[in-house]
Symmetry: C2
Subunit: 349 residues, 2 copies
């Protein structure tokens, strides 16, 4: 193997958004860095690229919120450095009936208590903001701070940036970390990370579709979220509509049922979705962990940067910067304590 | 152009199912035959391949019924000669509510009057025949004589057969019939035929999807039809689900709305459809005519074999055999009178 005949400071297993960001930040610090990518379709390829820690906040996931807000704060700088376009158009979370409206009021309340910037919009206000919304929308939650980025463009830019910083990227599948000759090894192999060690990372299937308006007109400017799905505008009439959350092992096939439900769900709140063309159906494998928090830190002689579940795009750079600190001989930042692989020590033992 | 430097007895413009069948039957008679194909996706590529003249019979389309029954009668021989598998599993037309049940009773009555073999199945009988049917099915019409064939396999076999019979096939786009040097020219260019002369052939978009069960198990054995759609089993867990009938010019993009509605419609009667994987979304352009009958015969110094709308697979060989008679200097069979291009003479003038 070519990777074994050379000496690198850092070998990163996995060339997805996390692996490339880690390699880039490491190479920027002068570490001789090699990325080994097996060529699998990483979760990033089917990710919507939402940067929405406030919208995605679930009850009890305060750790993830803090991490997400920190990441969102740094995202404009990250994108600027890479020359990647960042959309900061916000999100509208919509309720279609009384039950959903009550649920939305609770979400609003919880966010207000945490001091987050959200606004309650009556139907007429919501439709003034997004005229494509259906008249049946009963209530909306406006989250102006949310953003979105195109993960395919981000990964392409990161790939270039790694090489520009002196790092190398090779197409090579690693099945045994013991074969790597680098001084330090980082595992950033997404859903496949569980195969390279004893940490509990599992694939969680997410089906999405890419849609477009052939005239290039924008139906909505904000990301629109329902209880089950989202429609993320990419500009120029392009959208990502997603996503399922399925425990189906390594299966990535699009199914009739999910396709049907995703379209039905979004078309109820944005009927114009029905007129859009389907450019692509696809499914990614998110790297899930038992507590939905990523795994960042040293464990068993290897540095782990994985398990980012639905937050890999948002958390890529905060993860990369933390791991680069560690690779340079410094401690991890304080926030990373919650992501310590040691919390799974019993499972892993 | 290579086609102009040689002398052929017959040049067939269009290498879809009609053009290839015509070329094959002509070459079998010793005519030096050349097929010129522009490389467009012909309607056959997205056709379900149903051989269902009794099911598809519409009020007032007696001519088409006669032609379809004649074609179905000859289909086993056609497939045997080509070595293509023919499925003769029949069709169940199902009604989901009282309105559809009443409509189905009328369809049954009309077919019985015409002496066609159809049977009325109560819900329990229908579900005994096809256990995957939903309990909500109120009535079914059993059409045992219907068949189906895989159009992609049929076209591949025809392509081989043309060459085996001494014919030639070239990838070449013809925009002006006057440039062809052959003694006789046949236009079998499907939806594109209207561009090569003054006959009223127009593209009619049909969206379909190809589905599969990853375990290869068959959900249904018969073709299942609703008022809006159909599910055609291909065996080994594969299906074609279709189809829209849209006047959208040359547009062939799959849309979110049609995909959603096709799945919803069939899943109401066969819920297991929701579990199937989507292998492909696609759309074909059927060659439509003002009276839904094909155009077969000489007009303006050229032989036309086009305008087969939704019946191109079923009618391929009867069309080909009739046209081969004409190319050999014999009159067209009597049935072809209804397909005479002259009926559009006023339009064409």
């Amino acid at each position: 193997m070519s990777s074994q005949s050379e000496q690198h400071d850092v070998a990163v297993v996995g060339g997805g958004v996390i692996g490339l960001a880690v390699a880039w930040r490491a190479a920027q610090r002068g570490l001789r860095t090699l990325v080994l990518d097996a060529g699998e379709d990483g979760a990033w390829r089917y990710a919507a690229g939402m940067l929405a820690p406030v919208t995605e906040l679930e009850f009890g996931e305060r750790e993830l919120l803090g991490l997400g807000l920190r990441a969102l704060d740094g995202f404009p700088g990250f994108c600027a450095e890479l020359g990647v376009e960042l959309h900061l158009n916000g999100t509208l979370v919509v309720a279609r009936d009384r039950d959903e409206a009550e649920e939305l009021e609770q979400l609003l309340e919880y966010r207000r208590k945490l001091g987050l910037a959200v606004e309650r919009l009556r139907p007429s206000q919501a439709r003034r903001a997004e005229p494509a919304l259906a008249p049946t929308v009963r209530l909306a939650l406006d989250v102006p701070g949310d953003g979105a980025v195109d993960p395919r463009k981000l990964v392409a830019a990161l790939s270039d940036a790694v090489e520009a910083a002196g790092g190398a990227i090779r197409r090579e599948r690693i099945d045994d970390l013991g074969t790597l000759r680098a001084r330090q090894v980082v595992v950033a192999a997404g859903a496949w990370s569980g195969r390279l060690g004893s940490l509990p990372v599992r694939p969680v299937k997410g089906q999405i579709m890419r849609l477009r308006d052939p005239q290039g007109q924008d139906l909505v400017t904000r990301t629109i979220r329902t209880r089950e799905g989202y429609l993320v505008p990419r500009g120029e009439g392009r959208y990502v509509l997603g996503a399922t959350v399925e425990e189906r092992g390594w299966d990535t096939a699009p199914t009739a049922g999910a396709t049907h439900e995703l379209i039905r769900d979004l078309a109820e709140v944005v009927p114009g979705v029905l007129e859009l063309e389907i450019e692509e159906l696809g499914a990614g494998l998110r790297p899930g962990t038992p507590d939905n928090l990523p795994i960042i830190g040293e464990h068993g002689g290897v540095v782990w940067a994985t398990g980012h579940f639905r937050n890999g795009i948002l958390l890529a750079d905060v993860t990369a910067q933390a791991v680069a600190e560690l690779l340079s001989g410094n401690p991890l930042p304080e926030w990373a304590a919650a992501c310590d692989p040691a919390r799974f020590a019993e499972v892993a033992a």
